[in-house]
Structure formats: C-alpha cells, structure tokens
C-alpha cells in the first residue's frame, strides 16, 4: 500500500490548502462588504460637488481657472496607477498593470513625457522589473483609504498641472461595477472636463463670488475623483480576491474527491488481491 499512503498525504495537504483558501475567502467577503459600503457612501459628496460646479460654471469664465485649462498637446503627463499591496486575487493586479502599460506605451508613442506615480507593491514591482523610473512610490495606503490619502496622491500632480508643468493627469484604477465585474479603466482627471453648463441657472447669492467658489471647489472635485478611484479599487480588489479564493476552494474540493476515489479504489484492489492470494494459497494446499 505504498501508493495508498502517498495518496493519503496528498489528500491531507490539499485539505490544508483548502482550509487556507476558505479562510481567505471569508476574510475577503467581509472586507469586500465594508469596501462596497465606502463606495456607496462616497456617492452623495461627488454628486453634490459636480452639481454645484456645473451650476456655477459658464464657458466664459473657464479661462480663469488653471484646472480647466485644456492643453492642445500633451508634452508631459502624470500617470497615477493604483494597485494592491497583495496578490492572491486572480488577474486583478495584472489587469491594472496591463492597462497602465498600454497607456504609457500610447503616451510614449505620442512623444509625451510620462511621470509615473504608483501605489501598491504589485505595480511598483512590475515597473521596477522593467526598469522604468517612478516619480512616486506608495505602499502606505491600506484598505481603508481616506480623503487625506487621496489628496496626498493627487496634490503633487495637481499643483504641477496648475503650474503648467504637466498637461494631463491620468488615473489607472479598477472600476467597481459589481462584485463580479471590476475592470481596469483609465480616467483622465485633469484637465477637468468642462462641466455641462446652463442647467437651469438659478439666481443664487454667491459668496465670495462664482469664480472664488469654483477656485476652491475644483481641487476638491479632483481630489474626490481620486478618492473614489481608491475606494473602488479596494472594493474591486476584495471582490476579485473573494472570487479567486472561492474558485480555489471549489477546485480543492474537487481534487480531494478525485483523490479519495483513487485511494479507495487502490485500497479495494489491494484487499481483493490479498483475498485472491489467500484463496489461491489455500487451493494449492488441497
């Protein structure tokens, strides 16, 4: 029964693996729920902000705001890539990296200089591996991102854009559509797309003035775009990880069933053989 013992060992080790993947699946499920709550909680702020911005915006005053400047050619662009610090989430990180790689290749081909801002160990690891310099590397943002984290990521590129050093800021992140779909997307956060003006321009009393209000709200709008990208990325990460771990658990289960079956068959075969030997031996004595 040398084969049988070997099979038992494999069954045991697959069971241990399944225990780990199942635990990770449960952890990811609960973290995913909390991450989705954050995505939903972030919506009212974003809609209130864009509502007021589009009310105050008129095409005539667009020239006064550095963040609304629409450069015709992009000489230099900042790319902010959001990835996770950890793996075990299927193709989550590699999809994001692929999206970023395509964007960078497109910008390179157009002759645009690219400043890379990378969050997450996985993204940093890739760009280090291909030997590309990164302007900013961040691994300190955990799975509960705050508005301050978003601000710390985007304030640098935003200041550079306002100063005219950078002509566009892109964010590559995971868009959380549903727990089973969170594709990698590229969003251009700067220049701010001109809001659809003229939605029932009501007579508001404006303090200090429309221009001053917009000057303070536009940066908040950009920061919020990044905050939402952050929370969606984490929601996408945990939902992808949950799916990956669920598949791993299911596969382990199937493997164990198969191995058990093989083991039992081997056991039965050896018993049958022993009986046949005994019977044969007894028959030879007669």
């Amino acid at each position: 029964m040398a084969k049988g013992r070997e099979l038992l060992g494999r069954i045991k080790s697959t069971e241990n693996t399944r225990k780990i993947t199942r635990t990770l699946e449960m952890v990811a499920t609960s973290k995913m729920k909390r991450a989705i709550d954050r995505v939903i909680a972030a919506r009212p702020y974003a809609s209130a902000l864009s509502d007021v911005i589009s009310r105050l915006y008129s095409p005539e005053n667009a020239g006064a705001f550095p963040l609304l400047r629409q450069p015709e050619i992009e000489k230099r662009a900042a790319v902010i890539l959001l990835t996770a610090n950890r793996g075990l989430a299927g193709a989550f990180n590699s999809n994001l990296i692929k999206e970023a790689r395509q964007l960078v290749a497109r910008l390179d081909a157009a002759g645009t200089q690219v400043d890379l801002h990378v969050m997450g160990r996985k993204g940093i690891g890739y760009f280090k591996y291909i030997g590309r310099t990164m302007l900013v590397q961040r691994t300190d943002i955990g799975d509960k991102p705050t508005a301050d984290d978003a601000a710390s990521l985007v304030d640098g590129p935003m200041a550079a854009f306002a100063a005219g050093e950078v002509d566009a800021v892109y964010v590559v992140h995971s868009q959380f559509k549903s727990p089973v779909s969170s594709p990698a997307v590229t969003v251009r956060v700067l220049p701010v797309p001109p809001p659809a003006a003229g939605t029932a321009q009501k007579d508001y009393l404006l303090f200090p003035s429309a221009a001053d209000i917009l000057t303070t709200l536009l940066p908040a709008y950009v920061r919020n775009a990044l905050y939402r990208a952050l929370v969606e990325t984490f929601a996408g990460f945990y939902s992808t990880q949950r799916t990956a771990m669920k598949n791993a658990t299911d596969n382990a289960g199937e493997m164990i069933t198969g191995l058990r079956r093989t083991y039992n068959r081997a056991r039965q075969a050896s018993i049958t053989q022993e009986i046949a030997e005994i019977v044969g031996g007894a028959a030879a004595l007669e």
Partner: protein, 80 residues
C-alpha cells in the same frame, strides 16, 4: 423646518430636519433659518451647529441653501 444634510467625501454624516443652521463660512459665521434666499458660500474651518444642538467640525467645502434645503458639503467633517 430646514432639510439639512452634512456630506463629507467619506460619508453622509447627517440627514434630517433642523430649525436652524449656523455654519462657519469663509469670512465668519452664517446663520440660516427657514425662508432663506438661495445661496452658495464657501466654508472655512470651524463648528457647524444645528438648531437641535448637534454640532460638527467642518473644514473647507461649501454650503448651499435652496428652498429650505441646506446642503453642507465639506472636505473634512466629524461629529462633535
């Protein structure tokens, strides 16, 4: 009664009725009662107080009044 909502990037901190709102605008406190004209003003840093005694620390953002609906949209907010 005013319909008031206090919104930060991370969450909606308050949503409900209040008899009055006192908010730290960029140039000093502003008080709002029912029937206030439609207004948008930027906020400074300070304490936002509602008529029923609740208060919030707010920082930046804006306040919008429109037909007895007050929206306080702030970059940082926490309940006091």
């Amino acid at each position: 009664m005013l319909r008031v909502s206090v919104i930060s990037p991370e969450a909606v901190l308050f949503e409900g009725d209040a008899s009055s709102v006192v908010a730290p605008a960029f140039d000093g406190e502003v008080g709002i009662l029912t029937g206030h004209a439609a207004m948008v003003t930027t906020l400074g840093t300070g304490t936002l107080r509602l008529g029923d005694g609740q208060s919030f620390k707010v920082e930046g953002g804006f306040l919008q009044v429109d037909e007895n609906t007050v929206r306080v949209v702030t970059e940082k907010a926490s309940k006091v």
